[in-house]
């Protein structure tokens, strides 16, 4: 059984149709890259999968691990193992990274009938995960994303992902705004978290990140539909030929 099965998914925001029949199957242990020009619906797809209230699903279905994903509240999706590394992570002033992450970790544990973890044990667990993103413990005492640089915010998303250990991780433009060192740290983090039972969807505009995280499949989204799917070589072809090669300038309209 596929981990994620998207069929004929259509979605709109403020009455404007953005996704126009997306079909996608993701199995465990696979990494899928979704590429496409600006405005093609890549980020919308990511937001719809986590249940952003600004998007309305007008048609189609999404089955995750045998369940109707679209029928689940956003927090229930998260508890079931769906994780989105946001393109623009929000700031939460006054709430420390440590407090926030432990609250999230414990909510997910509770949903599985497991006991909550106390702050001391959680710090031990964090120590390992912090190494993955090459951070010291002091970052945990700062308020969530408040005053973080763009790169720090993205690294923080990967740290959260490492702690929460999702089954399906969606990375929305995680590479945008990253310098080469940050890009390597983020990619190393993602690669280290790869498990046979998990899957990853990488949403990106550029091929760059895919030099570090090698996808099993590459899909090109254009005007709300997947117009081409292929192996990792498709990304290189896109890089060489540009999106117009596949979209025929449909996005320009």
């Amino acid at each position: 059984m596929a981990l994620l099965e998207i069929s004929d998914l259509c979605a709109s925001a403020s009455g404007k149709e953005i996704l126009r029949g997306v079909d996608l199957t993701v199995n465990s242990a696979e990494i899928h890259a979704i590429m496409g020009p600006n405005g093609s619906g890549k980020s919308t797809l990511a937001q719809v999968l986590v249940g952003h209230p600004a998007y309305v699903v007008t048609r189609g279905s999404v089955v995750y691990d045998g369940q109707d994903l679209l029928d689940m509240e956003p927090e229930v999706r998260a508890q079931a193992g769906v994780f989105l590394a946001f393109q623009y992570p929000v700031e939460i002033p006054g709430v420390t990274n440590a407090y926030f992450l432990r609250a999230a970790y414990n909510e997910i544990r509770k949903s599985k009938g497991l006991e909550e973890v106390d702050p001391m044990d959680f710090l031990d667990l964090l120590e390992e995960k912090l190494k993955l993103v090459e951070w010291g413990p002091e970052i945990m005492q700062r308020a969530v994303n408040a005053g973080f640089s763009g790169g720090e915010k993205k690294r923080n998303e990967i740290l959260q992902m490492a702690v929460l250990e999702p089954r399906l991780a969606i990375l929305d433009e995680t590479d945008s705004g990253l310098d080469i060192d940050a890009l390597r740290i983020v990619a190393d983090g993602v690669n280290a978290l790869k498990r046979p039972e998990n899957a990853t969807i990488i949403v990106t505009h550029y091929q760059r990140l895919l030099n570090y995280i090698v996808p099993d499949f590459v899909h090109v989204l254009s005007a709300g539909r997947i117009v081409r799917s292929g192996g990792k070589e498709l990304a290189l072809e896109l890089e060489a030929k540009g999106y117009e090669w596949l979209t025929g300038g449909a996005e320009a309209a």
Binding site: V50, G51, H52, P53, A54, E73, P74, E75, R77, A78, Q79, F83, L84, F86, Y88, P89, V90, I92, P93, G94, V95, Y99, F100, L101, A103, A104, Y105, E107, I108, S111, A143, Q160, L164
Partner: protein
């Protein structure tokens, strides 16, 4: 998700029960006879009666203020009962004699009136309607020379202290509600900390309104003599009723040279229902006077009341005196709050800090009103004000009315303000990490209030955080 209105209807005010106890009340309405009756019931000395009558005569010529940014139906002062007391309360109530029903009431409110069960290190004065039902640790504190008792008892036992300080910070003619309070005040707490003594435990008063149609007019006076220090906590609740009840209190703090007073309030009066029916009208005058090198710090968490009108202030009279005001004010449903502070700089190098966090949800309306005044002699005076508002939903309001009046060129005054809205994105972010909407809002709001909560004594801070969660239940649809 349920609609906001639906959730608000279901909102629980768990302190809303009524204690069935036989009470003795004076007839409703206000005139000189009623004042004489209240004074007689309290067996007050003549000076007290004359003070009340003078205040009453002054009040007759005053007008109810309507400048606050709030609206409410007219108050009929002749429909209010100005004194009500459970029949079983002993005039000099010690804790052993407390009526079991009253004891039960306070236990339900989480305030056991039993010294063994009390929070370690906190002495409590419990006020029920117009009287104090008992004060704990009175004896132990008394051995140190600390006076902590009900106001009525202070008038009888320590008239010289009362006469000297009563009205010295909030004169009887200060404002309409302060004048009314001065005429009819019933009970409250009195604290005196002798010279150089640091009070070994937190002192607290718990106010409870029980009777219908009764106003509560408490009067609190805290005097810290030279070099003394004390931390005082105030809590309050009332039953759910569908009529407004007036609560017009006066609190005066006197910090003599080098003294320190820290006054913390968690105000949780009944706020009225989702349509704005009922609830407490909380019209309170709180002010402190700090002499040389003295420090007065107000911390308030205001979550209850239909209407809140209060400006805990500090007169920085002495050189090097310090005033602080930390406030969290939450409005939800149809609540209205017009609150803030006044910092009056008179002494040289006097310093003040104001941190105000206003949270508006539902159809609530929240106004910050603050005055920073630096008089000509206050050379080197400094003020820092930070005033932040947070909006939840799109039917609430947040307003800021800062007044700054600087008459000395060497003074420095800073004012920072911000308004933010808890957005869909912020909530989705938390939900995407596994938190539900209520927990997400509670976390975001608590983060917003952190600077104020850290000023509260520990047990109070925990209580305040919980209360904030309850107050904002169902505020986002």
């Amino acid at each position: 998700m349920s609609s906001p209105v639906e959730s608000l209807v279901n909102r629980e005010y768990k302190w809303g029960f009524v204690t069935d106890i036989e009470s003795e009340s004076v007839p409703k309405g206000l005139n000189e006879e009623i004042i004489r009756l209240i004074s007689a019931k309290k067996e007050e000395p003549e000076f007290m009666l004359q003070w009340r009558l003078k205040a009453y005569r002054g009040w007759l010529g005053m007008k109810e203020p309507h400048w606050p940014n709030v609206s409410y139906p007219p108050i009929d002062y002749q429909e209010i009962i100005y004194y009500s007391a459970p029949k079983t309360v002993m005039p000099l109530g010690s804790l052993d004699e407390v009526d079991p029903k009253l004891r039960e009431t306070y236990e339900k409110l989480g305030i056991p009136l039993n010294e063994q069960k009390l929070l370690a290190g906190v002495a409590v004065d419990a006020i029920f309607d117009s009287v104090s039902v008992g004060t704990s640790y009175k004896k132990a504190l008394g051995e140190l020379g600390i006076i902590f008792c009900s106001f009525s008892e202070a008038v009888r036992e320590h008239p010289e202290l009362v006469e000297r300080y009563l009205g010295s910070v909030v004169p009887m003619s200060d404002n309409f509600f302060a004048a009314l309070n001065s005429a009819v005040f019933s009970d409250g707490s009195f604290v005196y900390i002798p010279k150089g003594l640091r009070c070994p435990m937190d002192l607290s008063t718990y106010f409870r309104i029980n009777q219908a149609n009764t106003g509560q007019f408490e009067r609190t006076l805290i005097v810290a003599d030279e070099g003394a220090s004390v931390s005082y906590l105030e809590g309050c609740t009332a039953p759910r009723r569908d009529t407004n009840q007036l609560h017009a209190a006066v609190v005066e703090l006197v910090a003599l040279d080098n003294a320190k007073i820290k006054y913390s309030t968690v105000q949780n009066w009944y706020a009225g229902d989702e349509n704005g029916v009922g609830g407490i009208l909380n019209f309170v005058t709180k002010r402190g006077k700090a002499l040389q090198n003295a420090k007065i710090s107000w911390t308030q968490v205001e979550t209850g009341s239909a209407i809140t009108w209060k400006y805990p202030s500090v007169i920085l009279q002495g050189d090097d005196s310090v005033g602080e005001f930390y406030s969290v004010a939450v409005v939800n449903g149809r609540q209205q709050a017009d609150t803030g502070t006044k910092m009056i700089h008179i002494g040289r190098n006097s310093r003040s800090t104001i941190v105000s966090k206003g949270i508006s949800a539902g159809r609530g309306n929240n106004s910050y009103r603050g005055l920073v005044k630096v008089l000509p002699k206050a050379a080197g005076a400094r003020n820092y004000t930070q005033c932040d508002s947070m909006l939840i939903g799109n039917r609430c309001g947040a307003h800021t009315f800062p007044y700054i009046d600087v008459q000395n060129a060497t003074a420095s005054v800073e004012h920072e303000a911000s308004t933010s809205k808890i957005g869909e994105d912020q909530i989705l972010y938390c939900k995407q990490r596994g938190l539900n909407t209520e927990n997400a809002i509670s976390m975001i709001v608590n983060g917003f209030c952190k600077e104020v909560f850290k000023e509260l004594p520990m047990e109070f801070a925990v209580e305040a955080q919980k209360l904030l969660g309850v107050s904002l239940e169902g505020s986002v649809g």
